[in-house]
């Protein structure tokens, strides 16, 4: 009886953690934390990275990684804003700019997908390099100056207006989340994605077009990165050469904290969103408490380590190993290997 209750609690542990965290901050910050305004702030703050997460989860599920989400965002923002400026802030120019911005993400995704599905290069290295290239292009496009689009009324509406009291970027995040949720859970593509991520060779021998799965994953990642870049430019009413820099680390941190395995094939978009919310709420609470921002990073780091530990523990359980001290497991693995080596 008691065990069942605990099991249910464990299954919904992410929700439990969020509620507990909110309770702690609610006690520490009476009247400040539990307000509609504050929750609006939290959601607004995580919306940019949240949109990126909706895309970047795809490559991670394939045991890949896309470190260019921020680079795509920056270049998309820069291309869009320069287009708007060169078209005299007209509605047509704005639409064209948005399309070109999304196109940047699409191209970046197609490139990564083609290369990574064809060649056996670590995605980490490739996207590390292309990320530099993208930021290099941003500097060329912007001429290393701020591109001001204060006069683009239509464009800035996205970042500044609210519908039913909720900021527009939060709606965009919601739409992206729904898109990813449906893709991962209700389409053949999603099923195939988990197969390829979980065992590429088995997927290939089941007739799954592995290349197609990989290419689409990086396209989604690139486009969502670009989309968040447009939202960011709209919020700031400008594009800068270092826009969104470093966001990719926060995005990957949230995905890992949310229980998506870097080894691929396991994890959910709900989990990744939990990761984003956890980090978002924590940052917000610490800010309200007046904790110096230096400590924010420190705490974030500790949370990531905890998440990785949980991931390792549960994957051990998955592999059927009994519970035991890490040391004993290591020893057992060592013995096993030496026995294997000693002859077949």
């Amino acid at each position: 009886m008691q065990k069942k209750w605990l099991a249910r609690l464990y299954k919904n542990r992410q929700l439990v953690i969020l509620v507990l965290l909110c309770l702690v901050f609610a006690v520490l910050l009476p009247r400040k934390f539990l307000t509609i305004g504050n929750f609006r702030n939290i959601l607004y703050a995580i919306s940019l990275q949240g949109i990126m997460i909706c895309g970047a989860t795809f490559p991670v599920l394939l045991a890949g990684i896309d470190r260019t989400v921020s680079g795509s965002a920056a270049l998309a923002g820069a291309v869009c804003c320069t287009t708007i400026v060169s078209h005299g802030f007209s509605t047509g120019g704005t639409l064209l700019g948005v399309l070109l911005g999304i196109g940047v993400g699409l191209l970046s995704g197609v490139f990564h997908g083609l290369v990574l599905s064809r060649f056996n290069i670590p995605a980490f290295l490739l996207t590390l390099a292309t990320s530099e290239i993208l930021y290099g292009l941003v500097q060329t496009v912007t001429g290393n100056q701020l591109i001001n689009v204060m006069n683009a009324k239509l464009f800035n509406l996205v970042g500044s207006s609210r519908i039913l009291g909720v900021p527009v970027p939060v709606y965009i995040l919601l739409a992206c989340f729904l898109f990813t949720y449906v893709m991962l859970n209700h389409t053949v593509y999603g099923r195939h994605l988990y197969c390829v991520g979980g065992n590429r060779e088995a997927a290939k021998l089941s007739g799954i077009n592995v290349r197609k799965i990989i290419i689409v994953a990086y396209i989604v990642s690139g486009v969502m990165g670009a989309l968040s870049g447009l939202v960011l430019s709209s919020m700031n009413q400008q594009a800068s050469a270092s826009q969104a820099k470093g966001y990719e680390n926060d995005v990957l941190a949230a995905i890992v904290v949310g229980g998506v395995s870097l080894r691929g094939g396991a994890g959910t978009i709900q989990g990744a969103m939990f990761g984003a919310l956890l980090i978002g709420i924590l940052t917000n609470g610490l800010q309200l408490l007046g904790v110096a921002s230096v400590y924010h990073d420190l705490i974030k780091g500790l949370i990531i380590i905890a998440a990785v530990a949980v991931d390792m523990y549960s994957s051990h359980k998955m592999s059927g190993l009994k519970r035991g001290s890490a040391l004993r497991r290591m020893f057992r693995r060592h013995r096993h290997e030496s026995q294997l080596k000693a002859g077949a």
């Binding site: 021998l205 007739g207 000693a342 002859g343």
Partner: protein
Amino acid sequence: MIVEMKGIEKVFSHVHALKGVDFSVRRGEVHALLGENGAGKSTLIKVLTGVYPKDGGEIVFDGKPVEIESRDDAFKLGIAVIFQEFSLIPTLSVTQNILLGKEKQKFGVLRKKAMRKEVAELIERFDFPLNPDDIIETLSVAQKQMVEILKALSTNARLIVMDEPTASLSAKESEMLYRIIAQLRDRGVSIIYISHRLEEVFALSDRITVLRDGHLVGVIEHDDIVPDKVVNMMIGKELSDATASRNLSVSSARTVLEVKNLSSLGKYENVSFEVKAGEVVVLTGLVGSGRTEVLRSIFSADRYDSGEILFEGKKLPKSTAKVIDRGFGLIPEDRRTQGFVPLLSVEKNVASTNYDTLSKHGFVLRRRERELGQRAVKIVDLRPANPAVPVGNLSGGNQQKAVLAKWLTRDLKVILVDEPTVGIDIGAKDEIYNFIEGLAKEGVAVLLVSSDIAEVLRVAHRIIVMKEGRIIHEFHEGVATQADILLAASGIRAERKEA
């Protein structure tokens, strides 16, 4: 005698692996250890090299009784093992690898010149085609093996165990290894040689010890080595009729799969055969003879260079998805790495080959997917009968049944099966044979790759033997026995029967 093992006993939790085995090796002889899979060869070697503690018996090394409790103990006595998988560090040089852990130094600084000279002398003494400065990963498999041998010799090894040393060598490289072995023997080094290639065992060995089911069957002196006699010792006479031989016959059904002059450079050459509806054709031969490669080419998992594959008289497309669409299925060689996705449930794994019927406009029909999972569990009698369990958590036999279910839920015409019962307990093995036979009865063409001779004789309608990428023998009609197949596979009776 360099080593004498007397009355060695080894019991694992359920299996009595060694039942009072005597085994001795003379100074400067090549001594082959023969036996079928599971006869106890590996266990005996592991006891000798300190990997497993023995449960009874004694070991005398160089006239003195010894206790070998670890690899290190064996190493200190001068017993070295050359593994199939090398223990070399690929990015380091030949010199660094041979002297690994035995580096010469002065005041903590490596004496590189002295080390290089020592290795150069060693290489020269045996006249190996090696350079002390070569980086391991640039070397061929045969050269790596030479480095392993030199590594053993540099520690003054007096007894070298070679476990399937020629498994991944070309014919020419094998020749070179035979010369090296002869050279070592002439210098007084003793060699324990384990190999499935009977012809080379017969050519090389001074003596042969045969094991079967953990018993010593006999020791054969050089002059008494007669292939037929040795093979009979290996397989034993007290076998049941069911697996000792099999009546073969050519089916008169229509041809479903036809392979014509298929070649793939460096893998197999000029392979031709056909499989008829309801027929079980077995491709057998030693590991590395090209059987698996042929299977994978048919399934379009690998390319082939020339030749034709016809399905019901029409060319088979070169795309796995399209081949599956024509009604093909593949049970791959290594189920863990190729057969299933361990983290995903039985239901999702089974569904992975079935989304053509489980989806509409790219969206999954969840209800049908679930029904299929439940149906699959019933079809293959999975334990536990729960489609939500991740396949990685199942036992070996049930994992294989889950892989089978991926295809049994489809409308099959041809099934390609590769070593389906490796590492599976006897009960589950039988179930898998029943599925294969059941499929054949329904008219499915079955192409099975297997090294397990009992398995071959259990299910085969016809048997094709491959060696070094070529078909060297076919058993079409009449009675085939274990000895026939073993001798054909090792190339001793290599004349090809014309159909």
